[in-house]
Amino acid sequence: MKKFIIVLISVVFAVSSAYSQEEEKKKDKPVRSPFGSGILIDNQTCEIPTAKTLEMLIQHRFGKMDNGIKDIWGIYSPGANIRIGFNYSILDNLIIGYGLTGRKMQSDFQIKWNILQQTRKNTIPVALTLYGNMAIDGRDKENEGIWGMNYKFSNRLSYFGQIIVGRKFTDWLSIQLTSSYTHYNLVDSTSDHDKIGIGINGRARLSAQSSLIFQYDVPLKIKNISEQHDFINPSKPNFAFGLEISTSTHAFQIYITTADGILPQEIYMFNRNDWTKGFSNLMFGFTITRLWSF
């Protein structure tokens, strides 16, 4: 009986080993670079640089374009906002990051995990990515106008979580759908602590290096999670479009956008600019990324 069991286990092991080798040969590979960078205007993409890669980002918003030539459509405007960030790929599908944003003196910690990668033979038809961050508002704690009479450190914190489903449809077209949840520990009485949003973004490739890019993110008005009786001045959808140039180690994006916030929770919760109102609610922005491999 013992011999029979040993033989049986050996046969099962040999067959499974041969099968796994055959599987390895047939293994479907991930699609080639669905996006030019890990970031697409204000949104994350399913792209993560290979493990042990450091990424530096500079994201910038100029002022609103409503003054026209007087301030060169917002380029001379004092209402600019900027973020500098550093991300590091721990694994091929896991990246962590830290960044500093000018407005509200925010510092943020973030993490992105590619759970699934779309494959070339469609064995996995979509990429599935999770993204989360925590931001700390760094403004002076003595400012009672912001923090009230009873300052608490926890009131500085805000959180953002997002599920991203993306697909590279053709060599030139990639689209992502997103669903997100935003939470602020402290907001003023006219805002909500929580916000759910959905979005769509993508890129249409023009050549090996350049692409048209767009995004449209909508904060939803959900009564069940709102603390307001009526949505009197709700946050507005964020629309942006632009051009991306992506090289071996750099990506450069220039765009026209609605939101002057840079962190996603700021955009979903506080964007009051309405892209349908034209120049008075739009601004130029750009993003630069640089990669270093170790």
Binding site: R32, T50, D171, A208, Q209, T247, S248, S293
Partner: protein, 139 residues
């Protein structure tokens, strides 16, 4: 007296500028011979003549290589002038005579100003697609 002095200085400055105009920036160094480990010399290209990779090779070359090596592989990309060493002319018979594995080594391992691309083009199929595309530059 003052006028004579001024004339002398002006003449010397003009002669000086004239002489400087003959000085040219130092030429780029010619690339020296590569030391390729023997295992790479014998390395075979499993995707040789795979026409399905033509577009992939062209796209990857444009993204990663063109800025230095130029669109036709002549070493005349916009960043080539900033390099101390001429990045090479891929269209020459001398270059094209290199075995497949040698081209792979030069491309992905690199040396000096030629960076390693092992972590930027990670898929083996894509790596060979670029080597195949470099073969199309032959005169």
């Amino acid at each position: 007296m003052k006028k004579t002095r001024l004339l002398q200085v002006t003449t010397m400055v003009i002669i000086g500028l004239f002489l400087i105009s003959w000085m040219v920036p130092q030429d780029q160094k010619k690339p020296g011979p590569w030391e390729i480990p023997s295992k790479y010399k014998k390395m075979e290209n499993p995707y040789k003549d795979d026409a399905s990779l033509n577009k992939v090779g062209k796209m990857l070359y444009a993204k990663h290589c063109k800025s230095c090596h130029g669109s036709k592989g002549l070493g005349d990309g916009p960043k080539a002038k900033q390099l101390e060493t001429f990045p090479g002319d891929f269209s020459t018979a001398e270059f094209q005579e290199h075995p497949e594995g040698v081209l792979w080594y030069m491309t992905y391992i690199g040396r000096d100003e030629m960076p390693s691309f092992e972590k930027k083009i990670t898929d083996e199929e894509d790596q060979w697609a670029v080597v195949n595309y470099m073969r199309t530059f032959a005169k």
